[in-house]
Amino acid sequence: MRHKDYQGRHLKSSSPPAHIQKKGRRRHPRKQRFLSDLLLVFAGALLGAALRVVITHFCDLVQYSFYGWDWTYLFINLIGAFIFGLLVSLFKVRFPSKGKKWYVFVSESAAASFTAFDLVFSQISLLYLQPNIVVLIFYVAVNFASCIVFSSLGIFLGSGKKSARRKRSGAHHQLSLERGKTRLPGARHGY
């Protein structure tokens, strides 16, 4: 019987590979890592969503409402965007070799599940109740723009004082370009 390696290629020797010899047939390591990441994402998302629900119940900003809108979601989105930006830059740009599991658990799932994108959009369903459409669109735009500003703030606080443009013109970047390392910090994460 001819055995196959991880990539499905036939092995030359008739003896089974090491991962089959010990404990029978195991999962592909990449598939196993994906499943463990998925479990971490699920657990983190449970935590983030639970935190959002708790804050929605206890932090009631209806009394400060503007045109009948609930500012609680803006507050939640701003906190979530800042924390997410900060964590992504810390884990992926500043300390890329540390805490892969923590990154998946905290930033990929908990902070992402904490924020509420669609609830802001669903405020537009008040369109028929509100006479001023411009104010409604302004509300959504304020939510969107402030979230981008806060996540950018988190990223620039987390990734250090030097901006990417200054780093690129520095001696270290020129050295890394010479060595063939053309990928920059933002690109490393796949964005």
């Binding site: 629900v53 997410f84 669609d118 933002g186």
Partner: protein, 124 residues
């Protein structure tokens, strides 16, 4: 209480689905920002349809609470979108691509929301 538990669980399922979608897109050599962009459009379309159904047919608001505040909020996120836009500035193309990405996502999401919302109204 039970609605809150449902919201939390469906939100976790939504986030897990987006994670799977990210990995799926990575398999086709597409960036994560593309995946987030598509997730935003889909979730806004579904959210618009759902809101119109609640408005017209007086569907139970529990459905909106569970799907919109739960599943769709986990599936697409302002934080992820903002971070994708901000991380794009760290790449070679700088602010231009980031601003274009974030603005196009915002405007198209709004358009998709209106398509879903008014589509159901017109069909009804």
């Amino acid at each position: 209480m039970w609605i809150d538990v449902l919201v939390v669980v469906t939100s976790a399922f939504g986030t897990a689905l987006r994670f799977c979608q990210d990995r799926f897109f990575r398999g086709f050599k597409k960036s994560r920002s593309t995946s987030i962009f598509i997730a935003s459009l889909i979730s806004c379309l579904v959210c618009g349809i759902l809101n119109a159904m609640i408005f017209l047919l007086e569907t139970s608001p529990i459905l909106k609470e569970v799907i919109c505040a739960g599943f769709l909020c986990g599936y697409s996120s302002f934080a992820v979108l903002g971070t994708a836009a901000a991380l794009l500035t760290k790449r070679k193309r700088g602010w231009g691509k980031s601003v274009f990405y974030s603005l196009s996502t915002f405007i198209l999401s709004l358009c998709f929301y209106f398509i879903g919302f008014f589509g159901i109204l017109v069909l009804h």
